[in-house]
């Protein structure tokens, strides 16, 4: 990206007002959070291997549901804001 493009980007963002910054903070934050949600899914899988307990399926479902909702909120942040 050359300096003109960078200036144009900043001008564009500034034209959108302060909320455009908030929007991209949300998007970046939620993207990082998505990685965390993915780790939870992976960790739930590893934990399930530790013991064959009665809540294993519930835990797995909870982790995937959390991951799915994170994607949903991320999309909402991109589309709605």
């Amino acid at each position: 990206m050359d300096s003109n493009n960078a200036v144009n980007l900043i001008k564009g963002l500034a034209a959108g007002g302060p909320w455009i910054f908030v929007k991209w903070m949300f998007v970046v934050g939620l993207f990082v959070y998505l990685m965390f949600a993915l780790i939870i899914v992976r960790q739930a899988q590893i934990m399930n291997q530790t013991i064959d307990g009665m809540y294993n399926k519930t835990v797995k479902l909870g982790a995937w549901l959390h991951f799915g909702l994170t994607i949903f909120v991320l999309i909402m942040a991109i589309v709605l804001l």
Partner: protein, 238 residues
Amino acid sequence: MGMAELYRAEDQGIADEGPITETVNEEVEAKREWREDEDWKKLAEKVVKDAGERPRREFHGAYHVLPNEKFVSQQQDEEIVLLLRSHPIVNLGWILLAVLMMVLPTFFEATGMFTGVPGRFMFVGKMTWYLMTWAFAFEKFLMWYYSIFLVTNERIIDIDFVNLMNRVVTNVNLNHIEEPVMVQRGFGSTLFNYGNIVVQTAGEVSTLDCIASPMPAKVVDIINRLSEELEKRREKGE
């Protein structure tokens, strides 16, 4: 014996003695293993019965006698006698905090401090907050549910999830333990009958801890009985 006869004989299971002997040996071996399994089950049941216990699941799975569940690295002739977690009451703190986190957005909204924030930002902000609350509660539950202390007929296994990234599995043979100790301190532990169990070991790992185990006296009793039974068997040369 001609080739055609040989095939017919194989079909009838009488081709030669080799496979038959092998099959018989396998059957004998299987029966022997089965008997050994039964021996172990009987031993576990006897110890549990002598300690005045019975197969049961209490405190939302925090105290499970003869649970008939499988765990990672379980051996063939190994049976779980006790499956322990921290007493569910220790979760009260984070449950209350999670409930507080759930009502916090409504509370702040009612104060009017977000009146200048556009509705769509409020919506996404709230959703993000609830997601984080979910993650917080879910992680705490996972830590509680999967941090377990197992007493089997052969060893004690302590599985600790320090955080989402770190798992520590420690196990020690019942032959290598010193006298287990229970520590019950404070109002809560007396009221709800939970306490810490500390098992000194003769191995590399000096102690195994079970934090806030329900019915700690009973647990120590069962560990002692199992250890004694194992010692007796060793003396008999079994």
